[in-house]
Symmetry: C2
Subunit: 586 residues, 2 copies
């Protein structure tokens, strides 16, 4: 009931002359000798408390001993502030509490950093004192937003008659994915559970079970090296449906996103979202998760330059590669020769052997390779790249993958460098028509591009035999502002097709049976057509909250550097436990 | 949009003469030659489809090939049934669909057991074919109920301004609990993550972080042997609050339960719930989770029989033990001498050396020990045990623990045997005033009865030094129908008190710091008074759904016998993974 407590942030002029008790933390203390001001913070906001000797000598004395972040209980009368002391920056700014009694509930050491939003402190220190870091307003707001987004999504899915269902965490290690976290079994010597990389197989089994509409905020695990945009455990909005077509699933996802963006950000999304094939995304943006908030699209010049005077371009096309380009409009003057060397080094990270560039200045091409290009070439650049005075034209000539990776990355880097991105907008788009399989030269076999349960397009069924590499999958990725939010597919629901798929992936019947037997069996007992989608929730929150660090959206994230249990968690276990584990592995 | 599909169970007389398409499973097929009836089931219910040669020869042909559990898509016209063929047992019983086209979406082998609710098949077989088992109506209903209960609880907590928050699963192994599941770290040789037994420390840190009201449907793990009422992974409703008193937390939990019972079962719970101290529960019911849906309470006769003619009773009291008893009203005639031997064997499971019993017949005591009791004793049994003709009086004389355990178990067993329990009611009650510490004779030290962060009652603070075993905890368990639903406590929030607690538990300062340093540190930076509760969600659903097997409330539970990944999951990993693991353990 909390009858005896009023939330600090809820106090308004209406409360004037009432007696209230607030409980919370000391945000700030200003000591004017006869008069001490305390800003008291709780989860709802901040209120100012005044202590003076006139009203309560005792309260003033306690206030004198109080420091930042002490936990206090304060009773007093709400009064209106004088007009000149009204603080319009806080919602309680028109009133203050005159303290009659103050109780210190708990003391606090001086915090190692200021608990404001604009702190200049290393992430390691923030994580070491995560409980203090989380008191900052920006962090409180992020986790309120995360909570809110969770509820909006649930409410949407509940309205659409989905059931929230919990799948196991102690599950079976399956091949064909990232590395599993393994959990040795105590009972079964030499046996292990694996933590799920996704509930994929379980949600498919739920469809075979006739539930038809499943969702879960699913914790998933991947034992990969830490990166800024990757955590070993992460949460995904996991959805599976029966009898729905790809169009049904895309439309349902769009309705969900529309609702979230409206309720969380007040933004009216336009649906249907733009769709782009995988091929188009690569051609136009050099990326399968293009940021479409800005232009600077790639322009493929292969056909046009295959006979030009620049050998590098000619040779690339001859070798079956590409020549593609982007135009950094009006920024040529920003780049010295040395800057361009730097940009070339950046290009090399993505495998490019070099970066060709031209500046347009006084209606002429300039730069070290300008001499190789004719007036006709210049006309071509004008018409295809919209080349104008002041522009910097960038070219990569190489194998398609290198060209896309390099120009795709360069495009994003340059847009960020020159602040060409409108950070206030949310551009959703679908990438479709993915290849079903990828050929691994080293291993000499096909791998599933998505996972081995993905359904090919019907019109490509014949190609499965004749030219598997050309088969397209009924799969789709949802991209937001250059990030892959997630993706999904229709699944194979017929045993025969699934057998064929494992065959193409080089599984013997034996192997397929031992690893996926339970799914294969299930497909024989009336499996409905089904498909679904999984969306990375941590990343979605990062984008919604306008954060750039994934770890700011996770309460207790892991880092490679810190050794604290709150951050990088593995710890030594005692010798007895260790010996027991060793025994299990024999 | 699923524009093209109508849910089978939604069809009513209003739909008469409309053309519809249903998709689902064949529940039943009746072949009358010229006429085939198909019951088509989807998640919403069942509808009857008629195929006849008149309307569509093709449909009839397809229907001829169809078997149970085939997945079909059927288009046809809804017609009203003749009055004599109306089926009042199903909601669509007034109509049927006359099929114009039938498409088989997927075939199905003949199921290994009938997918009805009253099946007679071993649990192992059910789990092996869990995807079929889950198609049965009772299982579908259970998981719909589970979904619904989840949403009602969330909606309650959201309204009360709680935030749903996700704590880590890869966390630190802590002592003082059950056995942890360990996850070897790939990066840190010889280091391990542990899967959480509960998010206890994290939720306390969230309180220090100023979130004030946290909840989570938290997956928890305990590496213990499987039992009918225990799974290695389980879900708890995990709640923590700041600034709330024990009364606040109990009242909040009661409001939550009231809402769930109202919305899920249509039951108006009376609040506040009955409360009982731990001591009273043991004295009256021989259990700290008493089933109060029936009487047959324990009656302590120690004082009355300490000088009686029966040596066994006298000696037990002399040795500092107890003599307690229950009266199985009116059932004496059910029990032969041999039956009583069986009951004595049952008593011995709980450590009793024997079970003393008396029958009341024709106003006399009978049975082998009747001769030891005087008329006065009989009068005593009459007044204290309400002994009447036909009653069976049962006595245990032993150490208190043995007496409670034996009579507590016997009381429940007898009530079940004689169906004395009203299965339609839900009896909630609180058990309070738990001991803070338990003394372990073997190890010669105190252990935390709950966990080492539990707050003692203020009035017992002094006893912490002088007589720790007498200290009571600000802890509470919620009991429902004889099951412990869960429990909680106020937590220690001051560093000094927490130090003292670890001292009593025999931790050196070093040990406390290395194992709980991050919590101890956090207590020094403005930790608010806080406390919470955790409720076993799987068990709650079991009780709500009227099930007796915990595994029927978990989609893919684990069993000791089966080796299927759906059930007992650990599997062999490949040699490469195994070698890698071994390296990590060196």
């Amino acid at each position: 009931m909390e009858n005896t407590r009023t939330l600090a942030g809820s106090l308004r002029k209406d409360h004037t002359d009432t007696s209230v008790t607030v409980k919370g933390w000391i945000q700030k203390r200003r000591d004017l000798g006869e008069l001490i001001f305390l800003d008291v913070r709780d989860r709802s906001g901040v209120v100012q408390v005044v202590c003076n000797a006139e009203l309560s000598k005792e309260a003033l004395q306690v206030a004198d001993s109080i420091r930042s972040e002490y936990v206090v209980e304060i009773t007093g009368k709400v009064i209106e502030r004088d007009i000149e002391t009204v603080n319009p920056k806080i919602e309680t700014g028109e009133i203050e509490i005159v303290a009659s009694t103050i109780t210190v509930l708990n003391e606090a050491k001086h915090p190692p950093f200021s608990l404001t939003d604009d702190i200049d402190v290393s992430e390691d220190v923030r994580l070491k004192y995560r409980y203090l870091d989380l008191r900052r307003e920006t962090m409180q707001e992020t986790f309120k937003l995360r909570h809110q987004a969770t509820q909006v999504i649930r409410s949407f899915l509940n309205e659409e008659m989905f059931l929230e269902m919990e799948t196991p965490m102690l599950t079976k290690s399956t091949p064909e994915g990232a590395r599993d976290y393994l959990v040795p079994s105590r009972v079964h010597e030499g046996h292990f559970y694996a933590l799920p990389q996704s509930p994929q197989l379980f949600k498919q089994l739920l469809m075979v079970s006739g539930f038809e509409k499943y969702y879960q905020f699913a914790r998933c695990f991947r034992d990969e090296d830490l990166r800024a945009d990757r955590q070993p455990e992460f949460t995904q909005i996991d959805i599976e449906t029966s009898f729905m077509t790809m169009e049904d699933i895309l439309a349902m996802t769009e309705r969900m996103m529309k609702k979230v963006m409206k309720e969380i950000k007040g933004i009216n999304l336009v649906t249907p979202f733009i769709r782009m094939t995988y091929k188009e995304a690569m051609d136009r943006f050099g990326s399968d998760k293009p940021d479409t908030r800005f232009g600077m699209e790639l322009v493929n010049l292969s056909e046009d330059v295959k006979d030009c005077g620049f050998k590098v371009f000619r040779q690339a096309v001859e070798a079956g590669g590409l020549v593609s380009s982007i135009n950094l409009k009006g920024k040529a003057a920003h780049y010295s020769r040395k800057d361009m060397d730097g940009m070339t080094d950046f290009a090399k990270i993505y495998g490019a052997k070099g970066l060709a560039w031209l500046k347009v200045d006084e209606d002429e091409l300039s730069g070290p390779i300008a001499k190789f290009f004719s007036d006709d070439d210049f006309e071509l650049f004008k018409s295809k790249l919209n080349a104008e005075n002041g522009d910097l034209l960038l070219f990569v000539a190489d194998k398609a993958k290198v060209v896309y990776d390099t120009l795709g990355a360069l495009r994003v880097k340059l847009a960020k460098d020159h602040q060409l991105i409108d950070e206030s907008v949310f551009h959703f788009l679908w990438i479709t028509d993915w290849p079903l399989l990828e050929y691994d030269e080293e291993e000499g076999r096909y791998f599933a591009a998505h996972h081995p349960f993905t359904m090919p397009f019907k019109e490509d069924f014949d190609l499965l035999e004749s030219d598997p590499g050309k088969v397209k999958a009924q799969a789709y990725d949802l991209v937001l502002n250059g990030f892959e939010l997630g993706g999904g597919s229709l699944r194979i629901y017929q045993r025969e097709m699934q057998n064929k798929m494992f065959e193409i992936l080089g599984f013997t019947e034996e192997e397929a049976k031992s690893q996926f037997g339970f799914l294969l069996d299930a497909l024989e007992y009336g499996a409905p057509p089904h498909g679904g989608i999984a969306l990375g929730f941590d990343r979605f929150i990062m984008l919604l909250a306008g954060k750039t660090n994934l770890r700011d959206t996770i309460l207790f994230p892991k880092t490679a550097s810190a050794s604290d249990p709150l951050t990088e968690a593995p710890s030594r276990v005692d010798q007895k436990q260790l010996n027991e584990l060793k025994l299990r592995l024999k």
